[in-house]
């Protein structure tokens, strides 16, 4: 017997089940979406993320996104993802910002050196101060290797929390090999329970929430 056959055999024997036997009905998932109006969501999101040491900005439109990003960067070098929203906002045109990496080695080399990584956020989760990035739309390393991360989140993508996320996207792996929830800067308390930021991931995270009506009107 192969290990696979033997393990299936052991499992079925232990449970008294036969191959092909139908499973018992699965319990209903427990999904409860709270009602939080959009404006309240931004405040909740900002409060949560700031409590973790993140920074949240509010932009009325894409021009303001560019201004805020420029203010954060102050001319420092950055790697920018290929998210169309960032391009529309003119982020790749800012001094020091490199984008449009097509091949992995050059992307990796750029991310390993740049002090900032700039990405879009596919979703935000207000209840936890979380942003969601998916590899289908964002290179994974841009939000991971540089010591600071700037993410641009459209207001309409700011969901209430986990329950709403799994309602909108019940099978996150269907369209993307990686879906990552990012909740604040990288941290560790492994030495004497003392909080240290930026152990492996970014030590700083900035999220710019942009009002989409203005964003799409441009």
């Amino acid at each position: 017997m192969t290990p696979r056959e033997e393990i299936f055999d052991r499992v079925r024997k232990a449970l008294g089940r036969k191959p092909g036997e139908k499973p018992a009905p699965v319990p209903e998932p427990r999904i409860r979406i709270p009602e939080i109006p959009p404006e309240r969501r931004v405040a909740l999101f900002a409060g949560r993320l700031e409590a973790l040491g993140g920074k949240v900005y509010r932009a009325a439109g894409l021009a303001q996104v560019r201004e805020i990003a420029a203010g954060i960067l102050e001319g420092a070098a950055a790697v920018c993802s290929t998210d169309p929203l960032l391009e529309k906002a003119g982020i790749p045109g800012l001094t020091g910002v490199a984008g449009g990496f097509q091949d992995e080695p050059s992307l990796r080399a750029a991310c390993a050196l740049a002090p900032f990584g700039i990405t879009g956020a596919d979703y935000g989760l207000a209840e936890t101060g979380t942003i969601v990035t998916r590899s289908a739309s964002e290179a994974r390393l841009i939000s991971l290797l540089p010591p600071a991360h700037i993410a641009v989140l459209p207001l309409s993508r700011l969901l209430t929390g986990l329950d709403e996320f799994y309602t909108v996207l019940p099978k996150p792996a269907d369209a993307s090999s990686s879906t990552v929830f990012i909740t604040g800067p990288s941290r560790s308390a492994d030495i004497e329970m003392i909080l240290v930021r930026g152990v492996h991931g970014p030590r700083v995270i900035h999220v710019i929430v942009v009002d989409e009506e203005h964003a799409t009107n441009r």
């Binding site: 998932p29 979380t130 289908a136 941290r187 240290v196 970014p202």
Partner: protein, 469 residues
């Protein structure tokens, strides 16, 4: 005797060591407090409902595990990955060694995984000259120190910053520092090189998600993200029992896991990964494998009552709540898992005869069951296991077993001076007038509240309670 004299001696040394007593006592107190705040009814009114649902889902999944294994496997393959089945630790290592040989890999990075700890994977790989580098800060320190994890979620909880400074000085080229912040940056620099050079990344999995063929990994540092992103090959190693039916069930489990472990609403990073990097994606591994390991789990599955031991999501809450763990620490439990969960799964994975005293390492106070987010009835299982030990001994001629089957707690209580002294010293040291404002502790206090051990130890309080009865 249920316990060997060396084991007794080792426990005595831990109880007698004020440094370790203070470190473990204050860390677990802090985690306990954080958890309590996070699940308090004002903070999370739905807490009990979530626990009930988590328990229900785990129960259902294990009762129908063969179906979910098949579904999981089909979905991993649909996303271009591969599932490998391993009956034991040797088969896990064989697969990794074989793949490393084929791909010419000599160094791999690892993110924290209790499952690989359980099977001593690093030793197995190193035996074949494959370098395996732990990347979680705590695990990295432990690996350099040739030590083993002390706590499921806080592996280096027994070490001080001075210990870390010693370990780094001995193993790394960086100048000595006793500041945790700087120590963390030393680890970041040294490990960054490893991440970018490694040929394989090995992770564990907090959850295996059947309807998505995905592994879900939670962490705070970003080392698991790096491990699963930077190297060209990602291998996730997980016990069969980590299965859940649907991605949507994570809405329940993720809410419980972070809060129960460290009081976080969510850990900093939650990765949901399925298959290698796809067509248009810019980066990520080119190969994706999930190794599903049995190693004793199917044996547990057969017992409808004890099966619930497999519900565990490794949050660590039961360790922090356990008066015995907090006293005897993590290293006195044999195997990778310590505390109440270790006391029930280690004897079941490895057979009851190996460490018959283990199910007795509990005061049966019930604190573990009370905090367990998936509602495992740990005290009940401990009692069942005790019964098995006693019966086993009776069969094998141990006629005076009843008399000898003492409780670990009782063992400690019979050394009242020793026990009381260790606890009081720890409490006093932390309360010395300047302790929170001078030297390194000042930094500690400036970042967060210094946690003080209770003025009166559990034991002292207990004695008073007993007296006043």
């Amino acid at each position: 005797m249920l316990m060997k004299p060396e084991q007794e001696e080792q426990i005595r040394r831990t109880v007698d060591n004020p440094k370790i007593q203070l470190a473990v006592y204050s860390a677990t107190a802090r985690l306990k407090e954080k958890r309590e705040e996070a699940v308090a009814s004002e903070a999370l009114p739905e807490y009990q409902e979530l626990r009930t649902q988590a328990n229900r889902i785990k129960k259902h999944t294990l009762e129908n595990l063969d179906v979910y294994l098949e579904e999981f496997e089909a979905n991993v393959e649909a996303h271009g990955g591969k599932v490998i089945y391993a009956r034991n630790g040797a088969e896990v290592a064989d697969f990794i060694l074989g793949l490393a040989r084929e791909r010419g890999v000599r160094m791999l990075v690892k993110s924290k995984s209790m499952t690989t700890e359980e099977i001593h994977l690093n030793q197995r790989l190193e035996h074949h000259h494959l370098e395996a580098v732990e990347t979680d800060l705590g695990e990295y320190i432990i690996q350099l120190a040739h030590d083993r994890p002390y706590h499921i979620v806080a592996p280096a909880v027994h070490m001080t910053r001075q210990d870390v400074a010693d370990v780094f000085e001995k193993n790394l080229a960086d100048p000595r520092t006793e500041e945790p912040e700087k120590q963390a940056m030393i680890a970041r620099r040294n490990l960054r090189e490893k991440f970018l050079a490694a040929g394989i990344g090995i992770s564990g999995a907090n959850f295996l998600v059947a309807d998505s063929g995905a592994v879900c990994i939670v962490e705070n540092e970003g080392n698991a993200r790096l491990t699963t992103t930077a190297p060209p090959i990602h291998i996730a190693v997980a016990g069969l029992e980590k299965m859940i039916p649907r991605a949507r069930d994570l809405a329940v489990f993720l809410k419980l896991l972070g809060r129960s472990g460290t009081g976080q609403l969510l850990t900093v990073y939650t990765s949901f990964l399925s298959g290698p990097r796809r067509g248009r994606e810019a980066d990520g591994p080119g190969e994706f494998y999930v190794v599903l390991m049995d190693n004793g789990r199917t044996r547990l599955l057969a017992d409808a009552e004890k099966r619930q031991s497999l519900y565990c999501i490794r949050c660590g809450a039961c360790l922090n709540a356990c008066p015995v763990y907090r006293k005897i620490g993590g290293h006195n439990y044999p195997g990778a898992y310590s505390g109440p969960i270790g006391a029930i799964i280690t004897p079941q994975y490895e057979g009851i005869a190996k460490d018959p005293w283990l199910p007795f390492a509990s005061s049966l106070c019930g604190a573990c069951a009370e905090v367990c987010p998936v509602k495992i009835d740990i005290p009940k299982i401990l009692l069942d296991l005790r019964k098995e030990v006693v019966e086993d001994r009776a069969v094998h001629g141990g006629g005076f077993v009843e008399r000898k089957a003492f409780q670990m707690y009782g063992w400690l209580m019979r050394r009242p001076k020793l026990y009381a002294m260790a606890g009081r010293i720890a409490a006093k040291m932390a309360r010395l007038p300047g302790a929170a404002s001078i030297g390194p502790a000042a930094k500690w206090g400036s970042v967060r509240e210094v946690t003080l051990p209770a003025r009166k130890s559990f034991r002292d309080q207990w004695r008073e309670r007993e007296k006043s009865k």
